[in-house]
């Protein structure tokens, strides 16, 4: 009888031990392994990305001259600041190339609609007179201008083929 009691106690102790090992060691370790495997995969991807980025940046930094050239072009199209004087100079050059003169050129702060995504802009207005060809050319050249712009309003008063008065209202953009 004593023997049976002893064996039963042994079996109970073994059962408790197995359950404890399963619950308090094996289960958490398996969970840990799962998460470690996941983070290992993540780290491998991170390293590959980081190495690729390094190679790309290394190549790019070797071409610093071309980056600087691109930067100059992009900053010309979309400067960090308003840079109005440069815009006026280029606009005057454009008019001169077309043998046109601006009767009126004004620059004013654009009214913002308050939308966050809206680009910062400056409004410009100008008046000029010329032939249809000259007017068409200046509108075309404004579309290919060194400073990115949008024309919001265009008004043409035509007195004759060579006497067309053009009034333009548009925006130029800036920001970082």
């Amino acid at each position: 009888m004593f023997k049976i009691k002893n064996i039963t106690i042994q079996i109970i102790i073994l059962l408790v031990s197995i359950t404890s090992v399963l619950l308090f060691f094996i289960k958490p370790t398996i969970n840990e392994i799962k998460s470690s495997k996941h983070s290992l995969k993540q780290k491998q991807t991170d390293l590959i990305n980081s190495t690729e980025k390094y190679e790309a940046l290394k190549k790019a930094s070797k071409n610093e001259v071309s980056i600087a050239q691109i930067e100059t072009k992009i900053l010309g199209l979309y400067p960090d600041d308003k840079d109005i004087s440069n815009f006026i100079i280029n606009l005057e050059k454009l008019a001169k190339n077309e043998n046109l003169t601006f009767n009126n050129l004004s620059i004013s702060e654009a009214k913002s609609s308050g939308k966050k995504a809206e680009a910062s802009s400056v409004q410009f207005d100008f008046n000029t007179s010329g032939s249809y060809q000259q007017i068409n050319n200046i509108v075309k050249k404004l579309e290919q201008f060194a400073r990115v712009n949008t024309i919001n309003n265009l008004n043409l008063s035509i007195k004759g083929e060579n006497d067309i008065n053009l009034k333009v209202t548009g925006h130029i953009y800036y920001g970082k």
Partner: protein, 179 residues
């Protein structure tokens, strides 16, 4: 031939003892297997942890290598952002030169456009002109309607000018803007 003379009570007790021993042995084997499995996963977990650590070190090394290039990266990032803004502006704007060309090509020789107003925000185009006949105005309206840049071409007024012997007219239409 052997005769089992053991009394049935002892026989039963022995059988029970044997079963209990077998059960204990079975549990010991299960326990041993559990311990072996626990040790195996412990070592596997440790090797994974050290592997994780070594990958982290590699990443940190790579980051240190990347640091001197951070300036180039931020410069490129900034330029890319600007390019996106420029692209959005250019693709969404109206190319007025092509609009002017379309209006010019739709205007018959007998019509003289005196005023042209193009507004981007409302998408409205207003044309004022002088025509020799109403047929010319109708022809111009038809031509403009055929062009997919314009829609809702309306011929609002036309009045005959007895002094100059021609018609003053107004044409309004909408510009089909890019979305």
């Amino acid at each position: 031939m052997s005769i089992n003379l053991i009394p049935p009570k002892i026989k039963q007790e022995r059988k029970l003892n044997k079963t209990l021993y077998e059960a204990v042995l079975g549990f010991w084997i299960i326990f041993a297997c559990t311990i072996i499995f626990a040790s195996a996963i412990y070592f596997y977990n440790s090797s994974l942890s050290s592997s994780l650590q070594s990958w982290q070190e590699k990443i940190d090394d790579q980051k240190t290598k990347n640091k001197p290039l951070a300036e180039t990266e931020s410069k490129i990032q900034k330029l890319n952002n600007k390019l996106i803004k420029i692209d959005n502006l250019i693709t969404s704007r109206t190319n007025w030169s092509t609009v002017l060309e379309s209006i010019a090509s739709a205007t018959p020789k007998n019509i003289q456009v005196t005023n042209l107003n193009l507004d981007r925000a409302s998408g409205q185009i207003a044309i004022q002109g002088i025509a020799t006949t109403r047929t010319d105005i109708a022809f111009m309206k038809e031509k403009l309607e055929e062009n997919d840049k314009f829609s809702t071409v309306t011929f609002s007024t036309s009045s005959f000018n007895e002094q100059t012997n021609d018609y003053n007219f107004n044409l309004n239409m909408n510009l089909n803007q890019k979305k």
